[in-house]
Symmetry: C2
Subunit: 330 residues, 2 copies
């Protein structure tokens, strides 16, 4: 089995590479290193069944250089920033998510590669009236450019699957947390640690702190992807990937403060429902489909976040205060 | 009220322009004339409240030249070909549907234009288990590049609406038929007329002839769009637009033959479920939502097709055998 992982130097991509290489499979890892980091690949670089290629999938011919002989593509490369901030280009997600996914699909079609696993997101659902959110029960209305363009990816995959005889596994991720670290504090855990290191007495919190989301450890995310690809045999297989509960942001703040040994931290809420425009402030995924298939997360949201806080703090101490912060994004 | 219609020289766009101009509203019509035709605009060209601009929306700055002062955009420009044929570029729909819609949305955002009506399609649903198909009851799985990229458009509109405070009306069209004519026989009515003129004894029919779809006259389509925009006041308003039944392809063949005065035509079925790869062979739209809003199609599918056959034949006779054929697409 020859695998191609896009976004291989990211948090999930690198853990997936490690898992596949450990199984003795051939893996080509592709990344443009815009947010992925080579050190994430430390455990597989040099292994005879792993090869890394730096390439940007926005370049239509980039895939052609690496796809020969590949049986299975794990397309994880994407804009890792769920937030749209004032001044951002409004087509960043369109380019890095939808257009790159088209480039991947088209290269697969030309090369005759038939199997694709894709990292979609719970953000495709938008503000769902059904909670927990099942995979198939409602038409999605994404409220972020990230979620919208990931839905555009899913739709393209669905059409390519039908037109060109592919087989696809689409994973709608909960918020993924884990030990891999990077410098920018884009995740709630890293954000809180960074802020509390700057000022241990008070913690600014986006929104009203009542945002509540599902969390899953990156190691379990990778395990679940491998399990589903092995066990789900439909032409298109779509699974929510998370645990069956959610966790409030304020609870995470308390867990971070406690793990840092801080007491009496004052929370300063920015106010408003969501953390940022396009934020789906409260959601919980219906994971009964993947449970029925035979896989269940071993940690609930609080346990996953707790472990991620500890591993993040450990990694930051190891990085000797270099400002490294958790990398994983939903 | 200043309106901008993209795809204004198309079948639906030109009828919409006529309706808005007749109401005394200002209309700017934009079209790249790749499939639209200037003669469709004969009734409005020269009117003081209508202006035509030839422009291609794939060019990101094209919209900037026309959007100043516009309150309401009717974005109908799209790849009119639902079929993907061997040899077609696989990114044609992505470019002409999703990317052009992004360009429209981004120009609206920069210009502060807040109202958008969009011609989506029943093809976004793909192979729905629910028949007739309601707007909100299931996650869509498009099976054509046309349907997939229109779903990508809807998702982008949903995100822009939320992030930038727009108001949107999304119409999922049934198969639209009508009197406007063009040279290429892409629609079932035009295709059958053309074939029967070539050989009145036999008629090749795609698929098994049991394909059954919902049909709506273009004049009623335009009427419904205007009605919904006037009466539906949510931030995002999504409506199936059609009648409540469907009509089999073989029945249409019989109606065309009869209208042409032919008897004993032999049908030659190509076989297979759908007319082409990505064809949703059988569907019927749930139109109870638009009915509840207060609008109902005056003609069922058979009546709409019957009228379209007559108007098409009349237009072709008028065009004195110049090969003109019906233009409207779902």
């Amino acid at each position: 089995m020859k695998n191609l992982i896009t976004g291989a130097a990211g948090c999930i991509g690198s853990e997936l590479a490690e898992a596949l290489v450990a199984r003795g499979q051939d893996v080509i890892g592709v990344d443009n290193l815009s947010s992925g980091k080579m050190e994430h690949l430390a455990t597989v670089l040099g292994k005879s069944n792993f090869r890394f290629v730096e390439a940007d999938l926005e370049e239509p011919s980039a895939m052609d250089r690496v796809i020969q002989g590949v049986n299975m593509v794990w397309h994880l490369a994407a804009n890792p920033d769920v937030k749209f901030s004032e001044g951002d280009e409004t087509n960043k997600d369109l380019r890095q998510n939808t257009l790159c996914t088209y480039n991947v699909l088209e290269a697969m079609r030309r090369n005759g590669t038939r199997k694709l696993a894709f990292s979609s997101t719970s953000a495709v659902y938008g503000l769902s009236k059904l909670q927990p959110i099942p995979e198939e029960a409602a038409f999605p209305h994404p409220i972020s450019l990230y979620g919208a363009t990931k839905l555009g990816c899913e739709a393209l995959i669905s059409a390519f699957q039908n037109l060109f005889g592919m087989q696809c596994w689409i994973f709608r991720f909960a918020n993924i947390v884990g030990p891999k670290v990077r410098k920018r504090g884009r995740t709630v855990i890293g954000d809180f640690i960074l802020k509390l290191r700057q000022d241990p007495r008070k913690l600014p919190i986006l929104g009203d702190g009542k945002q509540a989301k599902s969390y899953l450890l990156s190691e379990e995310c990778v395990e679940a992807m491998l399990f589903v690809v092995e066990h789900a045999r439909a032409p298109v297989n779509i699974y929510n990937l998370g645990c069956d509960d959610s966790l409030e942001v304020t609870a995470i703040a308390g867990m971070v403060a406690e793990a840092m040994g801080l007491r009496g931290v004052e929370y300063e809420f920015a106010g408003g429902d969501g953390g940022w425009p396009g934020d789906v402030a409260r959601f919980c995924l219906d994971v009964s489909a993947i449970n029925r298939l035979g896989w269940k997360a071993r940690h609930n949201s609080a346990e996953a976040v707790s472990r991620a806080i500890r591993s993040t703090l450990a990694a930051m101490n190891e990085a000797a205060g270099a400002g490294a912060l958790p990398a994983c994004k939903p």
